[in-house]
Symmetry: C2
């Protein structure tokens, strides 16, 4: 079945393809070549073909390329943009508040149904249209509402506890913004979104540049 055999890396390129294809369709294109996509996205055309081949049964035709509409449908289907997945967010600090206020997630098929925090001063407040609930009810909430995605935006030292609680509540995939490696049983996915790590890469680049400049 589609999806299983797609590498994580390829999956992460899908949103880029999708955006390009939507633009192309808006420009009136009905078919597009892997060469053109590759050029626009700075990807090898072979890689583009390989990625797209895994998306949907729609084959590319020599001479013309791929059918834009079919690819768009295929990728949207693959990414789940047409369906809705519920998620909970834990940790209504500055980053958590940020994500709660962000309007873009619904476009990606994700719906944050509830937010949690352990601090009494935050509980009860409404952020991004959702009331912040007490963290003690987290596990039950997940179980009762069949929530399978958890977003962790708590401080590092409590991230593991929150993680374990989410899993006990039935969560299968966790988006972790805390700068710690979480320990989870097999079958649970952790997707780390480590801002510190990204900054490290930026920092390395600047350092290398100044080193190169100064000898």
């Amino acid at each position: 079945m589609a999806g299983t055999d797609i590498s994580k890396q390829a999956m992460m390129r899908m949103p880029y393809y999708l955006r390009y294809l939507r633009d192309a369709e808006a420009s009136g294109a009905s078919s597009v070549s892997s060469t053109a996509i590759g050029e626009a996205l700075r990807l090898n055309s072979v890689q583009v073909r390989k990625d797209l081949a895994a998306v949907c049964s729609s084959k590319g035709k020599p001479g013309s390329g791929f059918n834009v509409r079919e690819l768009i449908s295929g990728i949207e289907e693959l990414l789940g943009y047409n369906s809705r997945v519920d998620a909970v967010l834990v940790g209504a600090g500055s980053l958590g508040t940020a994500l709660l206020s962000y309007k873009g997630f619904s476009e990606y098929g994700m719906n944050i149904v509830a937010a949690f925090d352990s601090s009494a001063s935050v509980c009860g407040r409404v952020i991004g249209g959702r009331e912040v609930l007490d963290a003690s009810s987290l596990e039950d909430f997940c179980r009762n509402n069949s929530v399978h995605i958890g977003i962790i935006t708590v401080p590092a030292d409590v991230a593991q506890d929150v993680c374990s609680e989410l899993i006990r509540g039935g969560v299968k995939a966790i988006w972790n913004f805390a700068p710690v490696k979480l320990k989870v049983p097999d079958g649970i996915l952790i997707q780390n979104e480590n801002l510190a790590a990204s900054l490290a890469v930026l920092s390395r680049h600047l350092k290398n540049m100044s080193n190169a400049a100064n000898g």
Copy 2:
């Protein structure tokens, strides 16, 4: 010189090491073994040694391990947590506002000195203690203030324009939150922080799980 020969992947693991080491130091440990680190962080001990060897001149000693304090200093130095790097943020929408409000960056040595937006309704507003400036002054601001890091949180369709402008202003590294592949000349680093891509990975996992369950 330290830093150049460290892979991007290794660099991204550094914040995890640092956190672990700080915890260890707080617990009174003066030395720590690669085995212990690897176990805590779910990393191969060989990889840990290789990463740490690249950090600082401090060698690990057989029998006891690495000196905690020296490692911490080395990593902090490597990551630039002791120095200050100025950055500008472009796009004060919901995500941009989120990042501006986030207090954690200073801890990582990054200082967002100014925010920009093209919308008249947003310019002049104060977010996270910084006034939002008009986007037309972006390039000059970067040049005049020697800003070398740009953060892009604008909609996808204008991200490339903003990117080019940042580069003309002298920016050397860009943290890109827009879901597009930016085209830049050699020597400019783009670090993509694609939330849609992360969600894609979560989505794939859930899909695979339900497929596995339903046959």
